[in-house]
C-alpha cells in the first residue's frame, strides 16, 4: 500500500535562549542523532519530517532552528512569519532560560498570526539531579497561554516525539479551522458580488505553501 501523501505541510519554528538544546532536539527528532558538543547555531536552518497524527493522517513538518542569543531576536520575524506552530524551549536546570520563553510568547502573541499553535519544552531533564522536578510554575504558565508543556531530553530521546506529535495535531486542526473560516467568508462574498450562487462543496485542498516543502 502506498503511504498517503501528507494532509498538510506545516511550518514549525524553534525558539529559546542559547544552549537550551534547540538544535539537539531537532536533530534527535528528525535524524535520531545526538552530540554532547553541538555547534552554536548562527544561521537558522531547517529539517523536515513526516509525522502521523492518527492512523490515517500524516503531516509534513518543516522545523526551523534559530540562533539563541538575545541580539539575534531582531531576526525572529523572518522565521516565525507564516509559522503554523512554535516550540519554545528552555533548560530545566536553568530557571532564567524560562524568562526567554515568556518573552517569545509575548512577541508571538502580538506579532505572529492569530492561529499560531504553541508548545513549551523543558529540555535536559537528564541533567536534573532532583528526585522530583518542580515545574508547577512552568506548566501553569503554559496552561494560561493555551500552550502544552512537555519535558524532554534530547540526550536520552525522551518526550521529543510527543512534543512534535502534539504540535502537529493541534496545528493541523488550527489550520483546517482557519481554512474553513476563510471559505465561509468567501462563500458569502462571492454570490453577492456576482449575483449568482456558486456552490462548491468539494473540500478545498490545503493551500500550497510557498515555502518549506
Amino acid at each position: 500500500m502506498r503511504a498517503a501523501s501528507p494532509a498538510a505541510n506545516l511550518k514549525v519554528v524553534l525558539l529559546g535562549e542559547g544552549r537550551v538544546g534547540k538544535t539537539s532536539l531537532l536533530l534527535r527528532f528528525a535524524k535520531d542523532e545526538f552530540s554532547d558538543t553541538q555547534q552554536a547555531t548562527i544561521q537558522a536552518s531547517f529539517l523536515s519530517k513526516k509525522v502521523l497524527v492518527d492512523a490515517e493522517t500524516s503531516v509534513a513538518l518543516s522545523i526551523w532552528d534559530t540562533a539563541g542569543q538575545e541580539r539575534f531576536h531582531s531576526l525572529g520575524p523572518i522565521y516565525y512569519r507564516d509559522a503554523d506552530a512554535a516550540l519554545l524551549v528552555y533548560d530545566v536546570t536553568d530557571k532564567d532560560s524560562f524568562d526567554r520563553v515568556k518573552s517569545w510568547v509575548k512577541e508571538l502573541k502580538k506579532m505572529a498570526g492569530r492561529n499560531i499553535v504553541l508548545a513549551i519544552a523543558g529540555n535536559k531533564i537528564d541533567l536534573d539531579r532532583q528526585e522530583e522536578l518542580d515545574l508547577t510554575e512552568q506548566t501553569e504558565y503554559a496552561e494560561s497561554i493555551g500552550a502544552s508543556h512537555f519535558t524532554t531530553s534530547a540526550k536520552l530521546n525522551k518526550g521529543i516525539d510527543a512534543v512534535f506529535q502534539d504540535l502537529a495535531k493541534r496545528a493541523l486542526v488550527s489550520k483546517r479551522r482557519a481554512a474553513a473560516a476563510a471559505e465561509a467568508v468567501e462563500s458569502t462574498l462571492v454570490p453577492r458580488r456576482q449575483g449568482t450562487l456558486i456552490i462548491d462543496e468539494r473540500p478545498k485542498a490545503p493551500p500550497k505553501r510557498s515555502c518549506c516543502s
Partner: protein, 379 residues
Amino acid sequence: MSSTSTGHWAFDSWKMTQQVLDSYGFSHALTGEEAVQRQMCETRAREQQKMWWEKERTLGPGWYEDELEAGQNGFAGGFSMAAVTAVANGSSLKKLIRKGIPAQSRAKVWWSCSGAGKKEREAGEGYYANLLKLVEGKETVHTRQIDNDVHRTFPGHPWLDSEEGKTLLRRVLVAYSWRNPGVGYCQSMNYVTAFLLLVMRSEEHAFWMLATLLEDILYEDSYSGDLSGCHVETRVLGELLEKKLPRLAVLLEKLGCELALLCTEWFLCLFVKSLPPETTMRIWDVLFNEGAKVIFRVALALLKMNEANLLKTKSVGELIHLLQDATRHTYDRDELMKVAFEKLGSFPMKSILKQRRRQHPLVMAELQDRLRKHENKSS
C-alpha cells in the same frame, strides 16, 4: 597542525570519499572530483608561492610593507616618482593577494595589510596584558555567553578542543568584550576568533585582528545591539542582487525567501561556517587587504555559480538546502575567486557607501517600529 595533507580512501556506501586533513587541522570527506579540484588549487598555490619567494629574495622579507603603506596613503605624499612606483606596485600586490597569500606568510601579511599591526603599535606596549589583568576573575553577561560557546566552537577540531585552544579562545573573546562594551560578545565572533587563532598562532595578534575587523574593516554595528549593521548589509546585498543577478532576485521574491535566510552567517561568520577553511582563507586574504566590499563579491559569486540550479528550485527550503550544500563543497577556491573578482563587473565602493547610507535609516525605522508595536500592544 601540520601543513601537509594526508589522506586515505574510505568507502562511503554510494561513492568513494577521501578523508583529508586540511592545513588548518579540519577533516573533510572529499569526493574524487573535489579531491582533484583541491589538488589543482594546491598546485597553483605552489606556483604562486614561488612568486612570493622571488619577491622576498629580491626585495627583502618585508617587501610588501612599503607597497601597502603607499597604497593606504595614496598620493598624499605628492606625485614623487617613488610614490608612483609604490602605488603601481601596490596594485600588483593587490593582484598577488587575490591569487592567495602562501600559508606560511599569511599571518604576517594579514598583520600588515589589515592595519592590525599599526593598531597594536598605537595602543602602546602592554595594552593587551593590562586588559587581561583587568578582566581576570570578572563575570559579566558576556563572559557567561562566551563560556557557553567556547566548547562548542568547531567541536572535533584537535587544537580547539584542547585546553590550550579553549583557554586562548576564551581569553581573546573576554578581553575584546571588555575593550568594546558596545559590542561585548556576539555569537559568531567565537568562530571568527577561532580561525584568527589558527592562522595568527598568537593570542595577542588574534585579538588585534579581531579588533581591526570589527572597528575598521566591517560595517559598523554588524555585531552590536540588534545587529542593525548586519541588517543594513543584507539590504545592500539585496540591491546588488537585483542589479547583478536579476533572475535570482525575482525568484527569491516569488518564493517569499528573505535574503537574510541565506546570508546572515556570511556577514557574521565571514564564511568560516559556510565554506571549506582553505577557501575561506583565500577570501580573508582579500578581505583584510581590500575591505568589507569583498563579502558582497563573494556572496554574489556563490549565488552566481549556483544560479542555474537555484533557479530550478520550487520552495525556500529546497533553495536553502541546495545553496548550503553547494557552498560547503566549494573546494575550487580559484574558481570562486575568479567569479568574485572577474565575472561580476565593477563594484564601486562609492555606490556601496551610498546604499548603506540609504538603507541605514530604513533598518532603524523598521527595528524601532517593531519595538514600539511589541511594547504598545503588550502594555
